[in-house]
């Protein structure tokens, strides 16, 4: 009667894991907010919270894309470099277009469109190299990570690429303005998250993504076009990077060799804290959103306390990632 044994053990384990996986990230986020409130009441002020979430938006949007890649059993290390490269090319292109289109919205829109095309192509390159080339995702994206980082350093000639100030004046509100009190970055983040959640949870594509991450052979034997779906997850990732760039560029109006540094790790961390399994098969977009916000909040709380140096931000984030994975495993590892 090993079946019923497995059945019971499985159900118990699942109940434990399930709850934690599903609600853990949100409980942790709530706990963090209580902690923040205890540390400094201004933490919960709408101004501070909106500020935190606005600054989370880039990582958050990228992490939504990363949720798809990771759920399908893949990994994309190139997102940070890709963001820097797309930012650089976008700024150079907009500066060049000012001559023809003037410093108004037509130039900015053209820049945005270019960013999206670049994101799509860069994602497709990653995806096709991984699926058609049959190379490990880790290797391919480690390679493209180096390539994009080097390219952005090259086109910036080791320095900084700066957006021409008339264009910047036009573009600036995209980061700094808000509609109905909600800053545009948060709005975009929310839209991306909602679409991401619907695609992941309700569509055939989302089902295929998690089937592939769960067991690629089963997916292939179930008539799923595995290569196509996997490539698409990288394309989604690329588009998300482009969207993040579109709200990032107006913030500083420049790009350099250090733009987007370590974003890939923050994005992956947000996904993992959110309860998505790194080995693939289970993706949770809302968990990712909570994870991204948590990561930003830790830094914010440290800044507000002053008791612990904000330089320890990374260490605390690291501890939280490890604890999150331990909790998700739900007790003792299986034999």
């Amino acid at each position: 009667m090993q079946q019923s044994l497995a059945r019971d053990a499985g159900r118990e384990a699942r109940l434990r894991r399930f709850d934690l996986k599903l609600w853990g990230p949100f409980l942790a986020l709530a706990a963090l907010m209580v902690l923040g409130l205890l540390v400094n009441p201004t933490f919960l002020s709408p101004g501070n919270l909106l500020n935190v979430v606005t600054r989370t938006a880039f990582i958050g949007i990228i992490a939504v894309g990363a949720t798809f890649v990771i759920t399908a059993g893949g990994l994309d290390l190139s997102v940070g470099s890709m963001a820097a490269f797309i930012s650089g090319v976008m700024i150079i292109a907009m500066n060049a277009l000012v001559q023809q289109l003037g410093p108004g919205w037509s130039t900015v829109s053209a820049g945005m469109a270019l960013a999206l095309v670049l994101g799509l192509v860069a994602g497709a390159v990653n995806g096709i190299a991984i699926t058609r080339g049959r190379i490990e995702a880790f290797i391919v994206t480690l390679g493209t990570m180096g390539i994009y980082r080097s390219l952005v350093t090259y086109i910036a000639d080791g320095g900084t690429i700066t957006l021409a100030s008339p264009v910047r004046a036009t573009y600036r509100p995209v980061y700094y303005d808000s509609v109905l009190g909600i800053p545009y970055p948060i709005l975009l983040f929310a839209i991306v998250a909602v679409i991401g959640a619907v695609v992941m949870n309700r569509t055939r594509f989302g089902r295929y993504v998690s089937a592939i991450g769960s067991n690629e052979a089963v997916a292939r034997y179930s008539a799923i076009h595995v290569d196509r779906v996997k490539t698409l997850t990288y394309v989604i990732q690329g588009m998300c990077v482009a969207l993040a760039v579109i709200i990032y560029v107006p913030r500083l109006g420049s790009a350099s060799a250090t733009t987007g540094l370590l974003w890939e790790l923050e994005a992956i961390a947000a996904v993992i804290i959110g309860g998505t399994a790194l080995r693939g098969g289970f993706g949770r977009i809302w968990g990712t959103v909570a994870g991204a916000i948590m990561l930003a909040m830790i830094g914010n709380i440290l800044n507000l306390t002053g008791a612990i140096s904000a330089y320890l931000n990374g260490a605390i984030q690291g501890v939280i990632i490890i604890v999150a994975v331990l909790l998700q495993r739900g007790g003792t590892p299986r034999r």
Binding site: L5, G10, E12, R14, G281
Partner: protein, 509 residues
């Protein structure tokens, strides 16, 4: 007989509110082969896990050499000489044979491993087992039967007094089974007690001295095998006489349309120039030893494996199949023999598993979950899928129920041609019968079926015609009176061969 080496008295086991073993009295004599039979879910594996210390009983007594003991947790019972060989092997795939045999009890010289001593001992043990495996080869490179030999070698090297084998022949061919039986007899002569768990009653009859029957967690009877016919065993297992395992075959369909013609398909390293055809309403059996290339041929036909050359025609028209999706569009489905590895998403619930192949029927973009839920209820009913809860994961189902779920999943696309690879491997006799009846039902509805099986009884009981493969070639296509176990074995082992490569012989059957 003397004192039993291991005995349990009034043993019971519950998992939460569910009691799975009731008041079991069971004793093993030294040097006997004791078969344990029962349907899937009867409690065999749980009982054996308790005997080997992987589970603790809820109540009752375990005695070793007459003394009540508490078996230590998870596998340390091995030190007391009780070794369980799992259904799924517990070998470290990346390590060598020798490293596996000595895993956890390596021989050391000072700080370093004494590789030479371990290699020599491994070689000696393997030689004793009549096994030609090289101790230096990696386990991942071994065939399934060799892996089993390594498992046994590992147990023997631990000086097992009681060796528990859970379905040891599920993955073995007839010849390999005989090697295993020779080995069991030799171990028995050395005084080792063997518990032999199997669904294959002919094997139980051949190898065991006594047998115990478990049914629904109760030990129904223990008796000498010599006084028990296979018919009796089956009756004891299911609690009722089992007459109609196979239904009478429908008349042969030699004049029906050819729904599938496969010509001269080759798969590098596996299949050479294989041709066959399938008619509407026909059950076409594929027989052969493990490694004969049957699965590989089917996978190549379905675009799951690269093939060189060959043509496929569906209803007379040439058909291009690049992947499973093309096959499904052409009305062809395939039930893999590897249902855990390639058939079902074990960590997903039943519902997504059921609809995975046919998901386009549940909405163009958004998935209609209510329709899926409905389909699951219908399928659970139609295919008699027994799960405690319909929102369980596929991995928690018993083997038979997993197979029925897989069957339900592939039938979701309403196929015309169903290719089933090892339809009843590791499945109890009651479920077997259900699956056979289901296949008959399909044929009755004008579908066509290819059954790949290593169980000759199954092939002979089901198939109208039988394609026999040997070493990647089709060596014979048998029909009518020729479909017998003896005849199949002749072709499978190379004693006989038809001119299989000429089209006339292939298509004229």
């Amino acid at each position: 007989m003397g004192q039993p080496i291991v005995a349990v008295e009034s043993l019971a086991k519950s998992f939460g509110p569910v009691q799975v073993l009731f008041d079991i009295d069971f004793a093993l004599e030294q040097g006997e082969v004791h078969a344990l039979v029962g349907e899937n879910g009867a409690g065999k594996s749980t009982l054996m896990k308790i005997l080997s210390g992987y589970e603790q009983p809820t109540s009752g007594l375990i005695c070793l050499d007459g003394n009540p003991i508490t078996l230590p947790d998870s596998g340390t019972a091995e030190r007391l000489g009780i070794v369980l060989i799992h259904q799924e092997f517990a070998l470290a795939e990346h390590l060598t044979v020798e490293e596996n045999i000595f895993l956890g009890r390596e021989i050391r010289r000072g700080w370093l491993l004494d590789k030479k001593a371990m290699r020599d001992q491994s070689r000696a043990i393997l030689r004793e087992l009549d096994c030609t495996v090289d101790p230096d080869s990696r386990v991942q490179d071994l065939s399934v039967s060799d892996k089993q030999m390594v498992e046994i070698a590992k147990a023997v090297s631990r000086e097992a007094r009681v060796l528990i084998m859970d379905e040891p022949t599920a993955v073995l061919t007839g010849t390999e089974t005989q090697v295993l039986f020779r080995l069991i007899r030799r171990l028995k002569a050395q005084g080792v007690t063997i518990v032999y768990i199997s669904h294959k009653l002919d094997e139980v009859a051949e190898i065991s001295d006594r047998l115990s029957v478990l049914r629904d967690g109760v030990l129904v009877e223990t008796r000498p095998t010599a006084q028990t016919s296979q018919e009796d065993m089956a009756t004891l297992m299911v609690g009722r006489p089992l007459s109609d395992l196979f239904l009478p075959k429908s008349p042969p369909v030699s004049d029906a349309d050819r729904v599938l013609e496969v010509e001269r398909v080759s798969v590098p390293g596996w299949v050479h120039d294989a041709s066959f055809d399938l008619r509407r309403g026909e059950i076409l059996g594929f027989a052969g030893l493990i490694g004969a290339g049957r699965t590989e041929l089917m996978e190549a036909v379905l675009g799951l494996r690269r093939r060189t050359g060959g043509t496929i025609r569906r209803n007379g028209a040439a058909l291009r199949i690049r992947d499973m999706a093309d096959a499904v569009t052409a009305g062809i489905v395939y039930l893999t023999e590897d249902r855990k590895g390639k058939g079902l998403l074990l960590d997903k619930h039943l519902r997504p598993n059921l609809t995975l192949l046919a998901l386009d029927r549940y909405g163009r973009v958004l998935v209609d979950e209510a329709a899926e839920e409905q389909a699951l209820r219908v399928a659970a009913n139609a295919f008699d899928i027994r799960a405690k809860r319909l929102d369980a994961t596929a991995g928690t189902l018993s083997g038979g129920n997993q197979q029925k779920l897989l069957l339900a999943k592939t039938m979701q696309v309403e196929p015309e041609i169903i290719i089933i690879d090892e339809p009843t491997r590791g499945i109890d006799i009651g479920t077997k019968r259900q699956i056979y009846h289901f296949i008959h039902d399909l044929i009755g509805r004008g579908k066509s079926c290819i059954v790949i099986s290593s169980e000759l009884q199954e092939i002979v009981g089901l198939a109208h015609r039988v394609v026999v493969m040997r070493q990647g070639r089709v060596t014979g296509i048998l029909s009518g009176e020729d479909v017998t176990e003896q005849e199949i074995v002749r072709y499978a082992t190379g004693l006989k061969q038809q001119e299989a490569s000429s089209d006339a012989a292939v298509l004229g059957a």
